[in-house]
């Protein structure tokens, strides 16, 4: 049997056994839900959501003010519903009972404590318009002239920069962090599962250790990449057609970079996690043997979050060239158009070099430790093994 066939068989086993497991399906659903929730929440925050107000009017002139307020409601992203009152008593009672938000009187505004500023501003504005119209009317101006005078064309707002690109950067860092830590841990526990159940002995009587390791890394990697793509596509599918979020132009390249950096980051971490599994014999020891890796990943994620705020800062630039940190930072910078192409090329090259070095190291250490049982190895012993 060729090595390629051995790798294919072990990779296929990993894919099939894991992709059909309840834990995997559940984690995929949970992550899709989280991403969809982020999309929906940010679409709510970013959209022009209107507030609705119930406005009362006591008397004839206040009714005119209320009408003026209704005429301007769109400028204030509001929706006004008008109620008329005959007596001040009725009006006060309605405010107290929360039937209306405010009542306009001849010389004031009755509201509950802490009124909406939008509403107050809107009513004041309407009151000024009515007073202005009255004054201009008494000067003999036509209605059209009055309207032109008191309702000038609103200023156009030109926003500079892209509001939601930080959001895409945040989501990309989070997705990569979750994908790498979950898949890395899956590799470590998979290696130990085979050791602790002794199945590795039976398997290695048929194939070489390096083929088993390669099949495992490839199988789990493909499965995690597939999961990541499902999540990213679900997020894009929710965001793009509905137009719920103003996605920056960099979104699609960012999605491609997420896939690329998942593959590179996964290779770097999966090999290290495989070693952390191979040097222990029991499932309980994986947590502690992989703790340094988890720590590096968490630190990388924290750096990525801070770098997302200043994607051109020195921290972000330096982290781009440090392979364990780069996966969570590079797509986040790209999302904010803060990644020069040259830096990307160098970063990818460094990632490939690091992955190759770790693959080599992992193959050596795995080969020499996977059949070993007993107390967990110390880092110094592991390096000694790699040197042999």
């Amino acid at each position: 049997m060729t090595g390629r066939r051995a790798i294919f068989l072990t990779a296929r086993r990993e894919l099939r056994e894991r992709a059909t497991s309840r834990a995997f399906i559940a984690s995929t659903i949970v992550q899709v839900v989280i991403v969809l929730a982020i999309v929906i929440v940010s679409s709510l925050a970013g959209s022009d959501d209107t507030e609705s107000f119930k406005l009362g009017a006591l008397g004839e002139r206040p009714a005119a003010v209320a009408d003026a307020a209704e005429a301007q409601q769109e400028d204030f992203s509001s929706e006004i519903e008008i109620t008329s009152f005959e007596t001040e008593g009725e009006a006060r009672a309605a405010v107290e009972n929360d039937e209306v938000d405010a009542v306009i009187t001849a010389d004031g505004l009755i509201t509950r404590a802490g009124p909406s500023e939008t509403l107050v501003t809107l009513v004041q504005q309407a009151s000024r318009s009515v007073a202005g119209a009255e004054a201009l009317g008494s000067q003999g101006l036509t209605d059209a002239e009055i309207r032109a005078a008191i309702e000038p064309k609103p200023l156009e707002v030109d926003e500079i920069g892209e509001e939601s690109s930080a959001g895409v950067a945040f989501v990309s860092s989070l997705l990569l962090y979750i994908a790498i830590i979950a898949s890395g841990y899956a590799v470590a526990t998979g290696v130990v599962e085979e050791k602790s159940s002794r199945v590795v002995e039976v398997i290695l009587s048929a194939i070489k250790p390096v083929h088993l390791l390669a099949g495992k890394v490839i199988g789990i990697g493909l499965m995690s990449l597939g999961q990541l793509l499902v999540i990213v596509i679900a997020g894009l599918a929710a965001a793009i057609p509905t137009g719920a979020v103003d996605l920056p132009d960099s979104t699609l390249p960012t999605a491609a970079l997420i896939a690329l950096y998942f593959i590179l980051g996964y290779l770097v971490y999966a090999c290290a996690f495989a070693v952390s599994g191979a040097i222990v014999s029991r499932q309980e020891d994986v947590q502690s043997s992989s703790a340094p890796l988890t720590l590096v990943l968490v630190a990388a994620y924290l750096v990525a979050i801070s770098a997302a705020e200043s994607p051109e800062g020195s921290v972000a630039v330096v982290a781009t060239f440090i392979p364990p940190l780069a996966p969570m930072i590079v797509p986040a910078r790209a999302a904010q158009d803060a990644l020069p192409l040259g830096e990307l090329v160098i970063s990818v090259a460094l990632m490939i070099l690091a992955a190759a070095a770790l693959l080599w190291l992992a193959a050596r250490v795995y080969d020499r430790t996977v059949l070993r049982l007993g107390a967990p190895l110390k880092l110094r012993q592991v390096l000694g093994i790699a040197r042999r």
């Binding site: 039976v202 398997i203 290695l204 048929a206």
Partner: protein, 310 residues
């Protein structure tokens, strides 16, 4: 007892002076034996004698410090090793994998094409009585059934050699019968040598054509079971008298070793022992005594330690 080579001209599996140490501990000390095609071969010895180490060296998951393993006279290579069906002592199966998937996977790893692997998995689950368990996860099976799956995993790829570490431990009597039948069929019908270790010496005696007894990493006896037993019996005589006549031979060079069984030194004459017995009563039975494998085992292991301490 002197190390004795088997008489078979064409040994299929040869262990040649295998030594292995773990740090200061010498697990195997120049261990050699041979297994012939179609032979049921029992590998016995006290706990920690090195049986598992020897088996792991044969299947190649462990490298010997010195010595070699040969297959049909040529050094064992990866391609030969893939033809071995191996069952480890501590069972090795994926706990969360379904029985059928697991067996097909093992068969494919050993080089069977997929359709053949599926067919073989069906055949072996049927033969070992776990056909209804094909879709169950291994961890949901009873220990006895897990062991049957383990055995199926060793047999599913049509191996040319079986190496089984304690295959009978933990099986109920029905399981022992099923397994014995299967192993004998493999050895005698398919000419597959079956090497298995066991502490159940009555079973080894009943099933095996040849055995090797190891102690402290060294071979203390090996050969065909009948031959080993008759070698021993040449110096042992059973003398039974009618009634309960208490009698101790006064003859020179005769020692009682068990009830009515006496061991004679080289010079002692069995006929003189019979003559003396006659004087004490009617002799009901007189003849060479064949020790059971258990007796043999106890003796050679004890001799081994005498040698070690002297």
């Amino acid at each position: 007892m002197a190390f004795e080579r088997l008489g078979h001209a064409q040994a299929m599996l040869t262990l040649d002076a295998i030594s292995k140490s773990y740090g200061e501990t010498r697990a195997l000390d120049s261990l050699s034996f041979e297994v012939a095609p179609g032979q049921m071969f029992g590998f016995v010895g006290p706990n920690g004698a090195g049986k598992t180490t020897a088996m792991r060296i044969v299947i190649g998951v462990l490298a010997p410090d010195s010595g070699a393993v040969a297959w049909n006279g040529a050094p064992m290579d990866a391609e030969n090793r893939r033809q071995i069906g191996y069952m480890p002592e501590e069972r090795g199966l994926y706990p969360k994998m379904r029985v059928a998937h697991q067996l097909v996977y093992h068969a494919e790893l050993h080089g069977l094409p997929r359709d053949r692997a599926v067919e073989q998995a069906d055949i072996w689950t049927e033969r070992l009585g776990i056909a209804e368990r094909r879709e169950d996860k291994v961890e949901d099976l009873s220990l006895g059934n897990q062991q049957r799956v383990q055995l199926a995993a060793a047999l599913v790829h049509e191996p040319k050699l079986l190496i089984l570490d304690e295959p009978f431990s933990g099986l109920d009597p029905t399981g022992v019968d099923v397994l014995s039948e299967v192993l004998i069929a493999e050895a005698h019908d398919r000419e597959v040598p079956v090497v298995f270790s066991s502490h159940q010496l009555d079973l080894v005696e009943r099933l095996c054509d040849a055995i090797a007894i190891v102690k402290d990493g060294s071979l203390v006896a090996s050969g065909e079971v009948e031959q080993l037993r008759s070698e021993r019996s040449g110096r042992r005589w059973r003398v039974e008298l009618d009634g309960e006549s208490a009698w101790t031979p006064s003859l020179q060079g005769v020692r009682p070793v068990a009830d009515s069984v006496y061991e004679l030194d080289e010079g002692a004459d069995p006929q003189a022992l019979l003559d003396e017995a006659r004087q004490h009563g009617a002799v009901r039975q007189f003849g060479p005594d064949q020790p059971s494998l258990a007796d043999l085992f106890r003796e050679v292991v004890a001799e081994g330690s005498d040698k070690a301490t002297s």
